[in-house]
Symmetry: C2
Subunit: 133 residues, 2 copies
C-alpha cells in the first residue's frame, strides 16, 4: 500500500491515517466503491495497533469518506472523491499559509523565503509520477 507513518511527527497516528486516506482518495489512488485494507491488515502493515486504525476508519465514516459493508469491510463512499479533493486543497493551503505567516512574522527575508520555496518545490520533482492514472 501507499501509507506510511511518521512516528516522529507531531500529528497523532490516527490523524496521519485519516489524512493519507483523504489524500489517496483525492488522488484517485483509491476509487469510489473500492475496498480499503482491513483494520487488522493495515495495522500489521504499519506496525501500529488495530484500535488506532479502527479509530481512523470510524472518523472517516463520520466524514462520509468511507462506508461500511456489513461483515465484509469498508469501501470508499460514493461522492468521496470530490469531497476529498476539496479537503486536500484546504489542508495544503492551510499548511502553506502557516509556514509563510511564521516566516514573515519572524522577519525572514522575503527573497530568502522565496529561494527556500523554490528549492523545496523542485526537490523530488519527477518522483511519485510513475504509477498510471
Amino acid at each position: 500500500m501507499f501509507f506510511r507513518i511518521d512516528f516522529s511527527n507531531e500529528l497523532a497516528i490516527y490523524e496521519q491515517v485519516v489524512r493519507q486516506i483523504v489524500f489517496a482518495v483525492a488522488g484517485r489512488l483509491l476509487r469510489e466503491g473500492e475496498m480499503i485494507p482491513s483494520v487488522r491488515e493495515l495495522a500489521r502493515e504499519l506496525t501500529i495497533n488495530p484500535n488506532t486504525v479502527a479509530r481512523a476508519y470510524r472518523q472517516l465514516q463520520d466524514d462520509g469518506v468511507l462506508a461500511s459493508v456489513r461483515g465484509t469491510g469498508l469501501i470508499v463512499a460514493e461522492g468521496a472523491a470530490t469531497r476529498c479533493r476539496q479537503r486536500r486543497l484546504e489542508l495544503i493551503r492551510q499548511r502553506l499559509a502557516q509556514v509563510f505567516e511564521e516566516a514573515r512574522h519572524s522577519r525572514l527575508d522575503a527573497q530568502e523565503l522565496r529561494q527556500l520555496v523554490e528549492e523545496e518545490f523542485f526537490r523530488g520533482e519527477g518522483q511519485d509520477r510513475s504509477a498510471g492514472e
Copy 2:
C-alpha cells in the same frame, strides 16, 4: 508581546512557545542579552498555565537559547541568534518539504500546487513589515 497560541493547533502549547521564541530571536525581535517575559507574565498574557511556560523556558535553556540570571529572570543567551537562524531555516524547510511531498504523493497537479503556493506566498504580503528593525 508578539506571541500567540493556537489552541486548535496539533503542536503542543509548550512547543509553540519554544518555536515562537526561536523565531523571535532569529528575527531579532528578541536580542541577545535582552530579558524575556517572566513565566507568570507570559502565562497570564497567553492565558495558559505558568508550568507550561516554565517547561518551554527550561527546554530553551537546554537548547542554549536562554540563560538564567538568578533571582532576576531569563535573558537571550549569547550566540543564540546564529543558532536560532539556522534552526528557523531547518524548521521552515522541513515544513515545506512535508507539504510538497504530501501533495505530490497524492498526485496533485503540479501546476495547481504551484498556483496554491503563489497565492499563499503573496497573501498577507505587506503585513508584519511595520515594526522597526
